[in-house]
């Protein structure tokens, strides 16, 4: 049972991420989507997921705040979080990895770059 939550205020971006995951052959039973951090927490209250992919700059609650909420929760902290953001600054990437993100990928990226990053994260989780 593989359930992935994609958090991004851009529906186009959510669609691209879903497409990459599907075309890469990752067996995914369900894609859940949220348009920002608050929306994501609401989804996570109802559903259990195996992987969270999140943007940073979003309305209401950004990805950094969402990540902090996730790692503070005894159940949610076990779920790997991959941050995907247009923020290319060193401080942001460093801080989010320190808080507990499993990976940080900067937009723009080519589809295979995203797939490789995801493979690394999943192998680390399984390994």
């Amino acid at each position: 049972m593989t359930s992935i939550l994609i958090v991004d205020d851009s529906s186009a971006m959510r669609s691209v991420i879903k497409r990459i995951i599907t075309l890469s052959g990752f067996e995914t039973e369900a894609f859940l989507e949220a348009c920002d951090g608050e929306d994501a927490l609401e989804v996570l209250r109802r559903e259990s997921v195996d992987l969270i992919i999140s943007d940073i700059n979003m309305p209401r609650m950004d990805g950094e705040s969402l990540l902090r909420e996730i790692v503070a929760d005894p159940v949610l902290r076990e779920v790997p979080v991959v941050i995907v953001s247009s923020d290319a600054t060193e401080s942001r990437a460093g801080r989010l990895l320190e808080i507990g993100a499993s990976a940080y990928l900067v937009k723009p990226f080519q589809p295979q770059m995203f797939r490789e990053k995801l493979e690394q994260v999943l192998e680390a989780v399984h390994g």
Partner: protein, 144 residues
């Protein structure tokens, strides 16, 4: 000023090539024309300002199709707007990352608008009209 101009060139190439499978074939003189869709993001932090992109519906459709992996004529209005917004967001992030990689920024959600003849970027500090295979892309950048 020259810095921002070169930065915009570099960032536009990076973003268009990696996420849109497109590229800048040149820069066009003059003002953008026609009915256009624009997306504007403002940013705060180490620097403050705004970035705007604007393109005709047909250029944006072709760009959106490349981004989404769809055929050119299969892109909805909602997808067009979402793609325009994401283009502005990612381009802004790329510019800021080059401008100040050791800085910190927050980028606001994009504002979408219809505009004509480049009105959306007319008042901006740096203005570019990139020639793409899909048509042209106007970009405006102001750093306060």
């Amino acid at each position: 000023m020259a810095d921002l101009s070169a930065l915009l060139n570099t960032a536009a190439e990076e973003v268009l090539e990696n996420m849109f499978f497109s590229g800048v074939t040149g820069e066009l003189p003059g003002e953008p024309g026609g009915d256009r869709l624009s997306a504007t993001v403002s940013f705060v932090g180490s620097s403050e300002g705004e970035l705007t992109v604007s393109a005709t519906a047909s250029a944006l459709s072709a760009l959106a199709a490349g981004f989404l992996g769809e055929e050119d004529d299969a892109v909805s209005e909602a997808q067009l707007q979402s793609v325009a917004g994401e283009l502005a967001n990612v381009l802004c992030g790329a510019v800021l990352g080059h401008l100040n990689p050791k800085g910190s920024f927050r980028i606001a959600p994009p504002r979408i608008a219809r505009e004509q003849d480049g009105n959306a970027i007319r008042e901006m500090e740096v203005r570019k009209l990139f020639e793409l295979l899909e048509g042209d892309l106007a970009v405006g950048l102001t750093v306060h």
